[in-house]
Amino acid sequence: MEAINNLLYGLTIVAKPVNIIFMSVGCILGTVLGMLPGVGPATGVALLLPLTFTMKPETALITMAAVYYGAMFGGSRSSILLNVPGDGAAIASCFDGYPMTLKGKAESALAISAVASFIGGLIAAVIFLFLAMPVARFALRFGPPEYFVLMVFALSATASLTEESPVKGFMSLLFGLMVTTVGIDLQSGVLRFTFGIPELQTGIDFVVVIVGIYGIGEVFKNYETIKETGIYALKTTFGRIWFTLEEWRRCIWPILRESIVGFIIGVLPGAGGTIAAMMAYSNEKRLSKEPESFGTGVPEGLAAPEAANNAASIGAMIPMLTLGVPGSGTTAVMLGALMIYGLQPGPLLFEQRPEIAWGVIASLFVGNLICIIINLPLAGLLVRLLSVPGRLLYPLIVVIAFFGVYTINFSVVDFYMLLIFGFVGYFMRRYKVPIAPMVLSVVLGSSMENSFRQSLMLSDGSLKIFFRSGISIALIILTLLSVMWPIFSKNIKMRRVSTKSAN
């Protein structure tokens, strides 16, 4: 088999001591940076950029890739333990990860998420190995109209996240969309809601919103009770970092399914880990026999997004390596690095510099292994965070949040944004407005608006363009199903109950 031979060849590249060492450094760096709220893989890779000029190109790329998926491993640590996601891709890990911690199951949550990330990464790497080219070609069939329908489908996931109070959920969603209108309108060049502040011209970065809503908002909320509880009111046994067989049985299918979903989303340029994880979560909630248990700390609700976001980070490297198209902020920096070496990514890279292309692909297998080896013992250490008194822990979270947010744009304006969204997050919690719809629409809003308007410019204003391809029609049907599903499943349940009572 040619693919196996290529993999073996790649492994000989990876096995060089210098590559193993730098890859391990990348995994550790990624995990640590991923944990810090606001500091994501893109920042990590950019920080590394000047350093990599001294390395060989394959070493540089392997290290950067390691930072990328390492951050996916790390991002969920703070989601699970503190309800503060490290970056966008780790938001969905809060939904069931933090409730698990509240139930005293932090150890198994950390273990499950690490194993789910590992399997997600592995599955994605296997698909990468065998199907990179056809998958990349398929992704090209997504034009603006297909993207728009995909974004709408992703947004429809909120329907399943807000069954309890649809009106509040819808308000939250609209508020998120409003936030994304700030900045230069990409299609007309008009400044919108910037109030003469040049920093706002590029819009409000969604990571600032997330860290504000979750990180600072969580701190504000806990500030109310900090006097009474004094210490962080969590019970934990500091047990072994592992999970039960029962938990494993519940998770394995969601992990396998959502790895593939995450991978496909990751391959599409511009989509990425956040959308992948959100979709994975809502998919599993819909498929579950007990959807109402999601959000109360079920392991599959954590495993699904974790597998998906790691798979997405690996999928995102496909268009970059095979076509020279960067699919995310992180891969854009990696592409920039390749070009500084005078290398041109694309099909020719596989022919002219196979040591780089196959070295990177093989490193995905080894790197994921290194990540899980690092992350399991690290989890044992991190879980001790729960015994840190709130008086110490919360100021620390605030400091890290400000620091992390500054690394995104090096802008002081983001500090104000962080505080504003901190208050927004606090009041949303207080008045029980669901947060997830807003966050999802902040992530999706501007690309959704842009792809809608790009489509209409292509079609000269005709809406027919959204029905032009099989992909978009399939996505429209999925969207309709997804919105109807809650109503549908309720009816079925009610019927079941009534037939039972009739008997």
Binding site: L186, G189, G270, M339, Q344, G346, F410, S447
Partner: protein
């Protein structure tokens, strides 16, 4: 009495100030520079200024450190506002290119190149106009003919919003080709690499972008570059066989120049010093190598000539932006 004391203190302060300036001039540079990339890490501005700092350091041309600071935002407008706070500072240096003029002309910022001190132009990069491999268009003049018949027939894509560089470089070519309704040409803005995916997938008809972005997919045969905006064709390298706009029958060129700028009222001795160091940098072998890997042309212009070049270029952009109704000046 009181008035006299004030006078004496005033004169003493003035003398100190003058001598202080003289000292500053002699010892210059005596502390680290602050090099500013007006965008995030990894892009063209960031790469350029980091490479300049690297060569000045490694060739021991400048004895003090030159750390690079990223000040992204507002298409360079944030860094431009920051330069205003550093008025007269001899240690602040930023890199800029055509967007410096464009963001002012389109009204994104009130500040213009006149609110900086041009130090020197360093390099030139160029634009490329690419189509998918199965495109019906074989040359740039065919594209222009189609646009003359129906300005909406060719959907042009690029990075960043209308009125920005990718858009303007195509319009300059279209104008030279004799197209009158420049404002009717459909320009679709993309982000995060989606423009290339949109071209490869055949969702747009033509991509107007920088040379570097097209090189990989052109060499693999996935796209065809119809023309480049360089005044002369390349003798060697991957773009050697690609016609220039002029060779394609369109009498136009577009230079993506990059140069260094100081804050407004940067002292003359600082400008002279940096101008001279950059002229030396231009002659090093290391700079040659860097320009080669990045596909840049060396195009050094000293401060005075650079200033004249900027004024002339500004007028040229203004005309095109007026034609599409994007000019927001007086």
């Amino acid at each position: 009495m009181r008035g006299k004391a004030v006078w004496i203190v005033g004169i003493m302060a003035f003398v100190l100030f003058i001598s202080g300036m003289a000292i500053a001039q002699q010892d210059y540079p005596s502390k680290p520079f602050e090099f500013i990339a007006p965008a995030g890490p990894g892009g063209g501005w960031d790469t350029t200024i980091r490479m300049v700092a690297r060569v000045l350091q490694e060739e021991k041309l400048v004895p003090v450190p030159m750390p690079v600071i990223n000040k992204p935002g507002g298409g360079g407008g944030v860094a431009l506002a920051y330069l205003q706070q550093r008025k007269g500072d001899p240690y602040t240096v930023a890199v800029y290119s055509p967007p410096l003029l464009l963001i002012n002309l389109t009204g994104q910022t009130k500040l213009s190149f006149k609110d900086t001190t041009p130090i020197a132009r360093l390099i030139s990069d160029y634009g490329a106009f690419a189509v998918p491999k199965n495109s019906p268009y074989q040359s740039i003049s065919e594209v222009m003919e189609a646009l003359k018949k129906d300005p909406k027939s060719v959907k042009v894509g690029g990075t960043s919003s209308p009125g920005s560089m990718d858009h303007v470089q195509f319009l300059i070519a279209a104008k030279a080709a004799g197209i009158i309704d420049l404002d009717k040409i459909v320009y679709i803005a993309f982000q995060e690499g989606q423009q290339l995916a949109a071209l490869l997938g055949g969702h747009i008809d033509l991509l107007s972008t920088g040379l570097a972005e097209t090189q990989g997919p052109m060499m693999s045969g996935d796209i065809k570059v119809l023309a480049i905006s360089r005044p002369e064709p390349y003798d060697e390298g991957p773009f050697a066989n690609v016609p220039t706009l002029r060779q394609g029958g369109v009498d136009a060129e577009f230079i993506n120049w990059r140069g260094l700028f100081g804050p407004p009222e940067m002292p003359n001795y600082a400008v002279k010093y940096l101008e001279e160091k950059l002229a030396q940098l231009e002659k090093t072998q290391l700079w040659d190598e860097i320009c080669n890997t990045n596909g840049w042309d060396k195009s050094f212009l000293p401060a005075e000539e650079f200033k004249a070049f900027l004024a002339k270029t500004n007028e040229e952009y203004k005309e095109v932006l007026k034609a599409i109704g994007f000019y927001k000046g007086e």
